[in-house]
């Protein structure tokens, strides 16, 4: 238990993670379509400012600017050979901010999805995925990340490949999936299925959970789904600050700082121990979240009704974990055959 995240988890009831990376970088002048990871080298001052804004707002953990820093994604920008280097720089900048903060702040090396579909339906094999993640993991490790943090994953195969790569790098890690399709991931994984998958890993994460997806309400329903499995593993909640709207050439998420404060408290009451935001979550949101987590008393586990009352409606009736799932319209011959 030597890593900073394990130490914090051992002494604290809840930890606050950071907010958005992309939305914040847009406000600093990032152009749509460009790779944010290039800024690690071109504008280290801005990336440092991004990290510092999260720390100053009270985050105990922040994610590095390396979400798209794997070879598969950087290829779009002709930078596939720079995955390790750009990831390393993102972590070095983070290490520097964390070390100057005067308290324990965890530098979490962000690892996003490859964007490819796994074989047989797509081109990505397990071996190649592990290699891609491993390369980035080594870069983040060299740069001084405390833990690795894979996020926005849809396919269980990809989550497992990342876990294997992180074992090769000998790093502790966390990993979240994005539940954006009728309460499941795009590939159909439910919150319950994720718990089962995570617990079956040879090197399970320090924490697991959900990020991004649709609104804050859906994300909390997913957290309740994790908790219902009786897991003892720390649950991570990183929800979006509402939904994106377009105003005067800017993306703006409609969730207010007050709403995100409600979300943070509900997330904690629902069973999450690491609470942060995702897209649209700005420093002001984080400051409100921190204040609410520190000052509001812990409540009972929220009901779905309380969540919709405080944060708004869910995007779908169910999330695939209850009895409410609709019946398929046709028989499934192939499943019977496999069974």
């Amino acid at each position: 238990m030597t890593d900073a995240l394990s130490r914090l988890l051992a002494t604290r009831d809840w930890l606050m993670a950071d907010g958005a990376t992309g939305t914040n970088l847009f406000n600093m002048g990032l152009t749509s379509g460009d790779a944010p990871e290039m800024w690690n080298e071109e504008h280290p001052d801005r990336i440092t400012k991004l990290y510092k804004s999260a720390v100053d707002a009270g985050s105990d953990i922040f994610l590095t600017n390396s979400f798209g820093g794997n070879a598969s994604r950087l290829k779009l920008h002709g930078a596939e050979k720079r995955a390790r280097e750009l990831s390393r720089i993102s972590a070095e900048l983070g290490r520097n901010v964390a070390d100057k903060s005067g308290r324990t702040v965890v530098v979490a090396g962000s690892v996003g999805p490859t964007g490819e579909i796994f074989a047989p339906m797509g081109p990505l094999t397990h071996a190649v995925a592990v290699e891609i993640f491993h390369e980035q993991a080594e870069g983040l490790k060299e740069g001084g990340a405390d833990v690795l943090w894979v996020e926005t994953i849809s396919a269980p195969e990809e989550y497992r490949a990342a876990a294997e790569a992180f074992a090769l790098a000998g790093m502790p890690w966390c990993g979240t999936m994005s539940f954006d399709t009728a309460g499941r991931t795009m590939m159909g994984t439910t919150s319950a299925a994720m718990v089962e998958m995570v617990e079956a890993l040879p090197n399970p994460p320090l924490g697991f959970g959900a990020n991004c997806g649709t609104g804050a309400s859906d994300l909390l329903r997913t957290v309740l789904g994790f908790a219902a499995q009786g897991t003892e593993r720390p649950i991570i909640a990183k929800g979006n600050a509402g939904i994106p709207k377009y105003h005067d050439g800017h993306i703006h998420y409609d969730g207010t700082p007050e709403l995100m404060a409600e979300y943070a408290v509900l997330a904690r009451d629902a069973g999450a121990r690491i609470i942060g935001g995702c897209c649209g979550t700005m420093p002001d949101h984080l400051a409100h979240m921190r204040e609410a987590l520190e000052t509001r008393p812990r409540g009972a586990r929220p009901t779905l009704d309380l969540i919709t009352e405080k944060l708004g409606a869910f995007s779908s009736a169910g999330d695939g974990t209850g009895e409410d799932t609709a019946a398929p319209r046709r028989s499934r011959r192939s499943i019977k055959r496999d069974g």
């Binding site: 290829k75 797509g122 709207k245 377009y246 993306i251 028989s331």
Partner: protein, 235 residues
């Protein structure tokens, strides 16, 4: 039960049973079975266009509905679309030969900086399944790539997809360029992708936001019909 199901001899089924079986086989993503059934129907004298609409499109509509309703997810739909493609590969040359009617033409691509093409591929496959001609520009498309394709292909519809907060504003860059060039209204512009919503689609100047591939097909059909009606009224 499982053994009974495996022993189905497709050629022994009458037309109606066979089409029902094709719905099941599309649903299950059984490509070889679909190919076999398409060939059986052709041998029985079905017109290629009839097979396309009454078996493949109708079967994919069911897949689309269950995808829309959160019963099927991406892996199952990819399998189904792959099975449909098997059938389409047989029908395509025959459809051209027999001069079958076309629904319309679409140019589709994922915007610059975005590698995610799962949703875009689904839309392309479902649109083909619905009888549209689809020109797929792939991932990471800059404005010029869209403009070139629009000019050379002259489609009815432009489809754009983005899966990231950092790339979705690029759709507006493309639409703004179309407006600048005075060609925006020559196309039906449909947008989609996980982080988007209807209001966002309107705000950036698209004709419609499509929540998923099934909705994209329905929306495309209704807009193309409207466009044809307007053309007929002017004529």
């Amino acid at each position: 039960m499982a053994d009974d199901q495996d022993d189905i001899i497709l050629a022994d089924l009458d037309d109606e049973e066979l089409v029902q079986q094709m719905f099941d086989d599309l649903y299950d993503g059984l490509r070889e079975e679909i190919e076999e059934s398409v060939n059986i129907l052709l041998e029985r004298g079905w017109q290629p266009y009839e097979i396309l609409t009454k078996a493949l499109v109708a079967g994919m509509t069911i897949v689309g509905q269950d995808f829309r309703d959160g019963i099927l997810f991406v892996p199952e739909v990819l399998l189904a679309a792959n099975a449909m493609k098997g059938g389409m590969a047989i029908l395509k040359p025959l459809l051209v030969e027999t001069g079958a009617p076309k629904q319309g033409k679409m140019v589709i691509g994922t915007v610059k900086g975005d590698i995610h093409d799962i949703g875009k591929n689904l839309v392309a496959m479902m649109m083909e399944g619905a009888g549209f001609e689809v020109i797929d520009l792939g991932i990471n498309n800059a404005v010029d790539s869209y403009l070139d394709a629009l000019e050379s292909e002259k489609p009815d519809i432009l489809g754009m997809s983005a899966l990231l907060t950092t790339t979705m504003p690029y759709m507006k860059v493309v639409i703004d360029t179309l407006i600048e060039k005075g060609v925006r209204d020559d196309y039906i512009v449909l947008v989609g992708g996980a982080p988007l919503n209807e209001e966002f689609g309107r705000a950036i100047g698209a004709d419609a936001y499509c929540r998923d591939a099934a909705v994209a097909v329905e929306t495309a059909k209704s807009y193309v019909a409207r466009k044809h009606n307007q053309a007929a009224m002017r004529a």
